[in-house]
Amino acid sequence: MEPRRAPLSPSRAPAAALAVAALLSALLPAAGGCSRSDRSRTVVVWEQMDPQEQVLFDEHVAQFRANHPEFAGFSIERVHYRVEDLQTQFQTAALAFGGPNLVYGPSDKIGPYSIMGLLMPIDALPGGASELARFQPEALPTLNGRVWGLPDQVGNHLTLVANRALVDSIATDTDTWLRQLRELTVDRDGDGKPEQYGLVFNLLEPFWLVPWVGGFGGGVMDDQARPTLDTPAMAQALGFLSGLKQARVVPLECDYPLADTIFKEGRAAYIINGPWSWQGYREVGIEVALAPLPMVSGTGTWPAPFTSAKCYSINRYLDPATATCTAALLSWLTGPEVQLDLARKLGVQPGDLTAAAAPELQSDPAMIASRDQIAKGRLMPIVPEMRAVWDAMRPFYQSVMNGELEPAAAAAAMQARAVETIEVMHE
C-alpha cells in the first residue's frame, strides 16, 4: 500500500507556490542577464554567404583574432540565413531593437534597411569615414548622401560560363550561340528528354531576364526609381528567352539548384551564373571558361546584367560596448588582404582599390572576362522600389516561359503591377 502524504495545508500552500514563482522569476532574468552580458562581449554577423564564402569567412575571422589580441575578450559569431530569411529575421529583430552587429549580403537590401532606420551609416562608426577612400566609389552603397555598408567584393553579376570539355569556342553573338546551343543539346536515346543541354540557368527568376532586357536596348527602372517594364525591349527579351525553351536547348523546368546540378554533372555546355558559383564548378573538376553574355545579334548591344557589391552593414542598435571591436572587424573583413584572398580563391572582383590593382588579378584571364562583363553591366538600384519591380517581373516572366502569356502582354502587365505595388508601398 502506498504511503499517504499529508496534504499541503492551505497556510503552507501559498508559500510553496510563491517559492516556485520566485524560483522561476529568479531563473528567467538570470538567463536573460546572462545573454545580455554575453551580448556586450560578442560580435554577431548574420550572413547569406555561399558555403565556400562561409569557410573563408571563418578563416578570415581566425586571422583577425590572431592579429588583434586586444579583442581577445570578444567572441565572434557567424549566423547563416537563406536570402529571404535573412531579410525577414533582421527586420523582426530590429522590431525588438536587437539583431546582429553586422549584416552581410548584396547591396540591394541596404535601401529598405536604411530607409527603415535599421542601419548605422559607416561614418558613424569609430574611424568609419576614413575607410571610404579605400573603395571604388561605385562599389559603395550610397543613399540620401550617406554610405550604408562596406563591400568585400563587387560584381555579383551574371556571366556566361562554359564547360571547356564541351565547348571549343565561346559564341560572342546570339545567332552563333543559338546554332551552337542546338548542336550541343543531345538526345541520344530519342526519348524527347536530352541527356545533354546546350544551356542551363534559373528559368524562374527575373534576375536572369534583366541582362537580356539590356541587350535589347531597355532597362527595368529609370533614374527616378520608376519602373520601365512596358517596353519593346522587355517584350523582345521575354520572346528571346521563351524561344530558348521552345527550341528545347534549355530544360523545360529549371530552378537554380537544378541548373547548378546539371552543369556540375557535366551535362550542360553553358550555364549563366555568378561569381559565387564558379569555384564550385572548378572543385568538381569542370574546366570552366568565363565570357560576357553574347551580344544580341539583332541590336548589336551587349546584355547588361545587374552588378552590385556584397556588403557588411552595421546594425543601428549595435551595443556601444562592441563598437570598437565591430569597427575593427569590419575594417579587416573588407580590407585588401581579405579581398585579395577572396579574389584568389573565389574569383570575385575586389572593391578595395589596392586589392583590385594587384598584378595577378590584372593578368588572370577569368578575372579579365569577369571585369569585361561588369563593364557591360549596370549598377543595380538599391532603392526599395526595386523590390516591387522584381516582384512584378517574376510572375509574368514565368507566365511567358510557360506559354500562357504573350511577351508584349506580359510586359504591360509587369509595368501595371510594379506601379500598383510601388503605390501601396508608399501608402
Binding site: L8, P10, A13, P14, A17, L18, V20, A21, L24, E84, Q87, T88, Q91, A94, P112, I115, M116, G117, L118, K193, L204, P251, L252, E253, D255, P257, L258, P384, R387, A388, D391, R394, P395, F396, Q398, S399, N402, E404, T421, V424, M425, H426, E427
Partner: protein
C-alpha cells in the same frame, strides 16, 4: 473553499504570466500595429490611423457585390481576395479530408495484430518527425517535370509527364500532396491512442448483437474517437490554414506566376516583401476572425452528443 481557490490561483500564476507574455502581448501588439500606418517609411515613427486597413480589407470583400448581380460571378473570379480566400479553403479542406481518412485508416490498420507492427508505426510517423522545411524542398525536387522521381515513376506506367509547376491546378496539387504526406501521421497517432482506449467489451457486445464491421465502426469506433479527433481536427484546421512553409517552399513562392498563394503567404509577402506591417497585421486579424468562426463551428459539433 476560498483558500483552495486562492491556492489554485497561486499555482496558475507562473503559467498565466508566461501566457500573457507569449500569447496576450503579441496578440495585442499585433492589434495595435493593425491600427497604425507602420510601414517601411514609418518604421521608426508609426502613427495611429484607426481602422483604415480594415476598411481596405472590407472594400476588397464587398467590391464584387458593388456591381450588378449578373456580374457577380465574373467579378468574384477576377477578385484577387476571393481567389486567394477560395484557394485557402480548398487547401484546408482537401488536406483535412485526406489527413483524416488516411490517418484514421492507418490507425485502424495499426490497431490490429500485425507482424512488425512497431516498424510500420515508426515508418508511418517518419513524415511527421521530419522537419517540414527539408521535406518541402525534397518534394519540390521530386516534382520536377523532367528530373523528378514522380514523373519518372509515372512514365514507367505510361503516364505523360505532369507539368507540376507550370499549370495552376498541378501547382496547387504539388504542395497539397506534400502536406497530406506530412500531416496524416498526426491524426494517425491521435486516433491510435483513442482506439487503444476503447473498451473491447463494447465490440464483443456488439458482435453478440449481430453488428457487422461497418456498423461497429460507425456506432462504436467513431463516436468513441470523437473526443480525441475533434480537437485534433481543430488543430489540423488551424495549422493547415496557416501553413506557410509547405506552400511557400514547394511552389517556390507561388509558382506558377503567383497563382498558388493562400491568405497566410499573401500576408507574409505584404509584411516582409513590401514592408506593409500595418496592413499585414490587419489582414492577420482578419485571418484570426475567420479561424475563430471555424473553431466555433467545431465547438458546436463537439457539444452534440451522438451516443
Amino acid at each position: 473553499m476560498k483558500g483552495r481557490r486562492g491556492l489554485a490561483l497561486w499555482f496558475l500564476l507562473p503559467s498565466l504570466l508566461v501566457l500573457a507574455g507569449v500569447v496576450a502581448y503579441p496578440f495585442l501588439f499585433n492589434l495595435w500595429i493593425s491600427l497604425t500606418n507602420w510601414n517601411m517609411f514609418h518604421f521608426q515613427d508609426p502613427s495611429f490611423q484607426g481602422l483604415d486597413h480594415f476598411a481596405k480589407i472590407l472594400g476588397m470583400i464587398v467590391e464584387p457585390f458593388a456591381r450588378p448581380p449578373s456580374q457577380w460571378g465574373a467579378a468574384l473570379a477576377q477578385n484577387e481576395f476571393y481567389r486567394i480566400f477560395g484557394k485557402t479553403f480548398a487547401w484546408t479542406a482537401v488536406n483535412l479530408v485526406f489527413h483524416f481518412t488516411l490517418g484514421l485508416g492507418a490507425a485502424l490498420l495499426l490497431n490490429r495484430k500485425l507482424p512488425a507492427r512497431g516498424l510500420y508505426r515508426a515508418l508511418l510517423i517518419l513524415p511527421w518527425a521530419m522537419p517540414q522545411y527539408i521535406s518541402a524542398l525534397t518534394w519540390r525536387g521530386m516534382f520536377n517535370v523532367e528530373y523528378g522521381v514522380i514523373n519518372q515513376l509515372l512514365a514507367k506506367v505510361g503516364v505523360q509527364p505532369v507539368p507540376w509547376f507550370s499549370s495552376e491546378f498541378w501547382a496547387f496539387m504539388a504542395p497539397t500532396i506534400t502536406n497530406i504526406w506530412l500531416g496524416f501521421p498526426f491524426i494517425m497517432v491521435i486516433a491510435l491512442g483513442g482506439l487503444q482506449s476503447i473498451p473491447q467489451e463494447l465490440y464483443e457486445a456488439a458482435r453478440i448483437d449481430g453488428a457487422g464491421p461497418v456498423r461497429r465502426f460507425f456506432r462504436i469506433t467513431l463516436p468513441m474517437l470523437k473526443p480525441v479527433l475533434l480537437p485534433a481536427l481543430v488543430l489540423g484546421t488551424i495549422w493547415t490554414f496557416n501553413n506557410l512553409n509547405v506552400i511557400w517552399l514547394v511552389t517556390d513562392q507561388g509558382l506558377p506566376a503567383d497563382k498558388t498563394h493562400i491568405l497566410v503567404t499573401y500576408v507574409y509577402k505584404a509584411a516582409f516583401f513590401y514592408y506593409r506591417y500595418g496592413y499585414a497585421a490587419a489582414f492577420s486579424v482578419f485571418i484570426f476572425l475567420v479561424l475563430m468562426l471555424i473553431v466555433r463551428g467545431y465547438d458546436r459539433v463537439s457539444r452534440r452528443e451522438v451516443y
